[in-house]
């Protein structure tokens, strides 16, 4: 990956939103330069590229105006590099369903994990865990319907929901270990459990996710900054 890469991705390793973009770039065999941002000391490039939210990921393609928001970046890459490993299906109805579930995961499912982190006490956390279990069972149904007996939400190979949910697995494993409970298990979410093993070992994802030390540090930082 030389310095003259057409694609630059501003991000940080522990961010699953950034990991999504990396996963897609890897799936499409697109070379890119990763610019590691220190979120405690944001670079000039990040602040000028994303003045509205000042967040990662940011994708800069051939010095054109930057593209922001992980899902928007994924759709952009899918449209520009449409011949290599399509991420979204081509049928408008399936696309709508994929977008709906990605939105659900981002606006309803992930926030439950944030609520879990911020809820003190075991009883409080138990309540949030109940909601998480219901949501995970819903995603199990979505998986069964979408995959239609195949390995991934996207069917034979990784698709949009696989990317959106798959990149969060590092955090899920971290949360399971920290709280000593299971998010996905053989009884409530058997298919999703099998899926997690598959996606976790996918070539294109393996080097896009960071190790547990970085996650531990990131978690600790969140506990301080957003208790």
């Amino acid at each position: 990956m030389g310095k003259s890469c057409e694609i630059k991705l501003l991000g940080t390793a522990p961010s699953h939103f950034v990991n999504r973009v990396q996963f897609v770039l890897n799936l499409k065999s697109i070379e890119y330069e990763f610019i590691d941002e220190n979120l405690n000391c944001k670079s000039e490039l990040l602040l000028t590229s994303n003045p509205v939210h000042k967040k990662v990921p940011v994708l800069i393609h051939a010095n054109k105006p930057p593209i922001l928001e992980s899902l928007i970046i994924i759709e952009y890459l899918d449209e520009v590099y449409h011949d290599i490993h399509p991420i979204l299906p081509s049928d408008p109805l399936e696309r709508a369903h994929n977008r709906f579930w990605a939105n659900y995961i981002d606006t309803k499912y992930f926030p439950l994990f944030e609520e879990l982190r911020r809820t003190p006490g075991i009883e409080g956390k138990k309540e949030v865990k109940k909601q998480l279990d219901e949501a995970s069972e819903l995603l199990e149904e979505v998986f069964v319907k979408s995959s239609n007996g195949k390995a991934y939400f996207g069917g034979d190979d990784v698709g949009y929901i696989d990317v959106v949910l798959g990149c969060f697995l590092a955090w899920i494993k971290f949360v399971e270990k920290l709280n000593k409970f299971k998010i996905f298990d053989e009884v409530r979410t058997p298919k999703l459990l099998e899926w997690t093993n598959r996606i976790w070992s996918h070539e294109a994802l393996k080097d896009a996710i960071c190790g547990s030390e970085a996650l531990t540090n990131h978690y600790a930082m969140l506990q301080i900054k957003k208790p």
């Binding site: 977008r99 939105n103 819903l138």
Partner: protein, 219 residues
């Protein structure tokens, strides 16, 4: 014959953008007005997750979430009045600002209208900050989507539609011509688009309806 149904309420800004899109593309549809205090079994069947409007049902299959519905309509009925641009970068840009509008501008705007005291002041400040960014987008363009109106104009149409009726009923003004000349010009142009102008409720009806709500709340 394609069967299209739209579950709606007259006041939802998220519903209206779908009505406009269907009209612009000349799509025949049946509209079902919901009473949100007493949701129909059909709505709950078609949108069990969020239980909200709008829901578009096309040949018995539901699609939920207004921006998802807009893209679905644009991709399914792609020949008439395309809403999103072809260029991927322009598309990404419109999607970004549409999300910004729904996540930040719309909540703060309606927060300003409905909240009191310090909360209202904060909502006002937030809205003004956000509106400045949209004003900036219009500095070199006729419409938010460029030379002609499109997806992003529909996404912000709630602002064009509600600014004056809410100002008349509550006395609260956010879109003033001195601070937001581009937005005010855009608002008037948007409301003149035939499909927008002809859809119900119109500006005068909105004023009456908001007035009724205000009186029933004894504000």
């Amino acid at each position: 014959m394609e069967k299209v149904k739209l579950f709606a309420t007259w006041s939802s800004p998220f519903v209206k953008r779908i009505v406009w899109a269907l009209k612009l593309k000349n799509i025949e549809y049946e509209i079902i007005y919901e009473d949100l205090a007493n949701k129909s079994p059909e709505l709950l069947k078609y949108n069990p997750i969020h239980k909200k409007v709008p829901v578009l049902v096309h040949n018995e299959i539901p699609i939920c979430e207004s921006l998802v519905i807009l893209e679905y309509i644009d991709e399914t009925w792609k020949d008439a009045c395309p809403l999103l641009p072809k260029d991927p970068l322009d598309k990404a840009n419109e999607r970004f600002w549409a999300k910004f509008g729904d996540e930040l501008v719309l909540p703060s705007f309606f927060g300003y209208i409905m909240k009191q005291g310090k909360d209202q002041e904060e909502a006002k400040e937030a809205t003004l900050t956000h509106l400045k960014r949209i004003e900036q987008l219009l500095s070199e363009k006729e419409f938010l989507s460029g030379e002609s109106f499109g997806f992003l104009d529909l996404a912000f149409g709630w602002l064009a539609e509600n600014a004056r009726p809410l100002e008349v009923v509550t006395g609260l003004k956010l879109l003033d011509e001195n601070s937001f000349p581009n937005l005010c010009t855009w608002k008037d142009k948007f409301l003149e688009i035939p499909a927008i102008k002809e859809s119900w409720p119109d500006q005068e009806t909105l004023i009456l309806k908001y007035q009724e709500i205000k009186e029933s709340k004894g504000k």
